[in-house]
């Protein structure tokens, strides 16, 4: 049985610059994600990826359609659904004046759980930053902290909204490794990205969204076979990013 299911989700917003007209940011999206998958939602900016995720997470009202997480209707029982999902948001700003350990402690207590914040920070390689403020973190560290704060309730499903946007290749690979590690322990992961390479590397299945609709769905291999034009000649070597990583190494620069 699918652990995440969305049926014909629709979200309308007022059209910018118009009082009466509305446009559909999400226009009838249906998804079925199996437990243990890494599922990617791919698409250009403004395609409706984030809105789709936030409807499933119970953060945005659903105009029509239904969403279920582990059989729980997210609109009818949002708090029950929130107990079993982890959410990493695109915006990762936090209260000023609190340290990473204090913030993790706050989120843990809001889930009525008891957990050592340091243990969780260690899982994302931030144990030495426990006493730092989020403002002092680098982009990659911020993203990893953001994932750590989504893990406080040991979720069954982890939603990641553009987890590697704006990161340098080292930090990006580091996040990928973390995602793979979490998935290897059985966590279902749903992520959005507009990075093809990321989708291809991480995801077992992908849905490509544009203009609020899913335009293609399948494994990366299937999609390439079905949709990619035949390349004029096979590329024998890796791409420029491989060169960059070979020359600069995989070590994190933070």
């Amino acid at each position: 049985m699918a652990i995440v299911r969305a049926d014909e989700l629709v979200k309308e917003y007022p059209k910018p610059g118009s009082k009466t007209e509305r446009f559909r940011a999400v226009n009838g999206v249906s998804l079925s994600i199996e437990a243990g998958e890494i599922f990617g939602i791919l698409g250009p900016n403004g395609a409706g990826k984030t809105t789709t995720l936030e409807m499933i997470e119970g953060l945005t009202d659903i105009d029509s359609g239904e969403a279920f997480v582990d059989g729980i209707n997210v609109e009818k029982e949002p708090n029950k659904a929130k107990e079993i999902i982890g959410v990493q948001l695109q915006a990762n700003e936090y209260f000023d004046h609190l340290t990473l350990a204090e913030l993790i402690g706050l989120f843990t207590r809001l889930f009525h759980r008891a957990k050592d914040p340091r243990e969780l920070l260690a899982r994302v390689n931030l144990e030495d930053k426990a006493a730092a403020k989020p403002a002092a973190l680098s982009g990659g560290q911020r993203q990893r902290f953001s994932i750590a704060s989504a893990l406080v309730n040991e979720p069954k499903v982890l939603f990641l909204d553009e987890p590697t946007t704006g990161l340098d290749p080292q930090a990006k690979r580091n996040v990928w490794k973390l995602v793979e590690e979490l998935n290897s322990r059985g966590m279902t992961i749903v992520l959005t990205t507009h990075n093809m390479e990321e989708a291809e590397y991480l995801c077992g299945r992908i849905a490509i969204m544009d203009h609020g609709k899913i335009v293609a769905e399948g494994s990366p291999q299937q999609l390439i076979m079905q949709h990619a034009p035949e390349p004029p000649e096979a590329r024998l070597h890796g791409n420029l990013e491989d060169v960059f990583l070979k020359l600069t190494g995989h070590g994190l620069r933070e």
């Binding site: 945005t60 009202d61 700003e93 209260f95 004046h97 609190l98 809001l110």
Partner: protein, 361 residues
């Protein structure tokens, strides 16, 4: 309740580390208190008056001496021309012109009083004072015993200084500022930065978040206002005549009204600029109209009815009655009714309009 307390504790911790916020919420009222405290330490300033002595005789000299001996007046003797200028410039409250036949002999000598008619209110206040002083001098000069000697006894244990009037006003003002900043400005900032959304990823309910924020702000307000009051009592010798627990209740009631108004404004405003504008729109008129710095009675008649029903006016008036006049809250039923009505109205608005989700632009 548990979640509410967790939220309240967290927000208190954040505020306690925010030195800038602590400084600015205290800086303004303390500065005002100290300035006016020092300024009013010397008591009332004498009224500046001028005299043109056209008679220049022993009698007129005695008249001038007598006026100079009166603590109410500070006397400047000069020519009519000079004094005219000074009166019209506002340097002198008025000038008296003694005629040439001012010699105490039979036959009344007309004294002319130069005033600035634009200062009608001041003139009306001054004229009886001057007349009284003249009458007293006349009796002394003529050696007449007053028919009805009047002994004035001050019913208030101590004369009220301006600082005693001002401190309760400043306390009420601080309650308003801290509360509106606490709910209004913070909520817009939290929403803009995505912090609210981050919180609502957890199973916290809106009511628990609001409850936590309200609780933390009430604690902050009580601590800050108590600190200001302590400064006023210890350094400026401002007496607290009424019940301190009732004062505490008023602080909490007043703070709740402005916290609710802040939530309401925070829900209307989408940006920091918008909430700043909206905040100023709500607070600035109240600072001037609610009797913080001067009594509503001294305002133009047209404004008074409006000024009296502003929420800050009720807070100022109740806090002042308790501190200055030692009145209990049960002796101020109309003011209490005003406070409760404002609380009901603002709470309704706050709950009706609260949203933690950002509306897509």
């Amino acid at each position: 309740m548990d979640t509410t307390l967790i939220m309240a504790k967290t927000l208190l911790k954040i505020f306690s580390r925010d030195r800038q916020a602590i400084f600015f919420t205290l800086f303004f009222p303390i500065t005002f208190m100290v300035i006016f405290g020092i300024a009013s330490a010397g008591g009332e300033d004498p009224i500046e008056i001028g005299i043109v002595d056209n008679a220049s005789n022993a009698f007129s000299a005695k008249f001038v001496d007598t006026l100079e001996g009166n603590r109410l007046f500070s006397v400047n003797v000069a020519t009519e021309e000079e004094l005219r200028d000074k009166v019209s410039e506002g340097d002198l409250a008025l000038a008296l012109i003694l005629p040439q036949d001012f010699d105490g002999d039979e036959g009344a000598a007309d004294i002319t009083m130069l005033v600035d008619a634009a200062q009608a209110r001041q003139t009306a206040m001054m004229t009886p004072l001057v007349e009284q002083a003249l009458l007293k001098i006349e009796r002394e000069l003529r050696g007449i015993e007053p028919l009805f000697p009047l002994t004035v006894v001050d019913v208030q244990a101590r004369s009220q200084r301006y600082i005693d009037f001002l401190v309760p006003g400043l306390l009420a003002l601080t309650i308003m500022q801290i509360s509106i900043a606490g709910s209004g400005y913070n909520i817009v900032e939290f929403r803009r930065k995505g912090i609210l959304k981050r919180l609502f990823v957890t199973p916290i309910r809106s009511s628990q978040f609001i409850g936590g924020l309200v609780l933390s702000r009430l604690v902050i307000t009580v601590i800050q206002v108590s600190f200001l009051l302590a400064v006023a009592v210890v350094l400026l010798d401002v007496p607290v005549e009424g019940n301190v627990l009732e004062l505490l209740g008023l602080i909490i009631l007043g703070s709740s009204i402005f916290l609710s108004l802040g939530f309401f404004m925070g829900s209307l405003a989408k940006t920091q600029q918008a909430i700043m504008l909206l905040g100023n729109l709500i607070t600035l008129p109240q600072i001037f109209l609610s009797g913080v710095f001067f009594s509503i009675d001294a305002m133009p008649d047209l404004l008074q009815p409006i000024a009296r029903v502003l929420p800050l006016s009720f807070v100022v008036s109740s806090v002042r009655e308790v501190i200055v006049n030692g009145l209990s809250v049960v002796e101020q039923i109309p003011t209490m009714a005003g406070l409760v009505l404002w609380l009901a109205a603002s709470l309704t608005l706050a709950i009706r309009f609260f949203r933690w989700k950002e509306v897509a632009s």
